[in-house]
Symmetry: C2
Subunit: 133 residues, 2 copies
DNA sequence: TCCTTGCTTAGATGAACTTCTAATCAGGAT
DNA sequence: ATCCTGATTAGAAGTTCATCTAAGCAAGGA
């Protein structure tokens, strides 16, 4: 882990992540997206196109245990529990997170496959970059 | 360039792209996004969270010349020119594309930096992946 | 100068989305 | 059994968004 100029932490990409990037997801610049592909992908981006859901995703992803209790998530926002629950449902229905109830509490964790697919789609979107390799 | 099981073309990641991935964009799992970071990032994802805009981006990105005339873009959709113009404006205001007028026609091309940032943010969002490296 | 073509802006409409309050469900404790 | 706490569902209100038609702007040709 390194720290960059603006103070944010960064790290290098692992081989395993490269395999995901390299997996079966044609990047945007490869060939035009079909209507059905676009219709399938757009809801995934819509799920993360909200500041609350981005922070929820980030809170869950950066939690040490790999999972986070809803009560901790709710406490991090100035929003009512039903609102947080709504956003978690949107993320879950998009396949970005998974939930599990253990006793009184419900825990959420990241489902990495869909995020990896979205990332791979956007990454090499510049033909110039692809060809100067 | 290879072809995967479902017939879509894929390719490996270049060193230059790795540098972009590795650049100054903390991935989601690194640490929780601040409220202001989330507020800044969400509109970027909102810009691509629409099937028409995803296809527009893909059409522009995959065009041989690196740029595409609006007339070609409009022809690819079953929508009126004002609607296409609206979507192009959304993408341009998000910093994802740039436009240039040459004579009668207006050409759009990809602005790769923002896409690279979004991709880097989503990619290593799984702590499990990051730690099995 | 006037007309034609390409593209964008303005304004309106109907759908979708975010948020809330109130009510409901699930588990655990008294 | 009853109550309490954590979480979700139901329904409503206000806002944002995608799309259209109509109008405007820019550039080139008759």
């Amino acid at each position: 882990m390194r720290v960059c100029l603006d103070g944010r932490q960064i790290r290098t990409v692992s081989k395993q992540e490269l395999q995901i990037i390299d997996a079966c997801c044609a990047p945007l610049a490869c060939e035009p997206l079909s209507e059905s592909e676009a219709a399938e992908l757009a809801p995934l981006f819509k799920a993360v196109a909200d500041p609350v859901r981005l922070r929820l995703l980030s809170l869950i992803a950066s939690h040490e245990d790999g999972e986070t209790c809803v009560c901790d998530l709710t406490a991090a926002f100035d929003l009512t529990p039903p609102t947080i629950s709504h956003h978690l449902k949107v993320l879950r229905q998009a396949g970005l997170i998974e939930s599990e109830r253990r006793g009184t509490w419900v825990y959420y964790r990241i489902a990495p496959a869909v995020l990896a697919r979205m990332s791979a789609l956007l990454m090499p979107a510049s033909r110039a970059l692809a060809e100067t390799a």
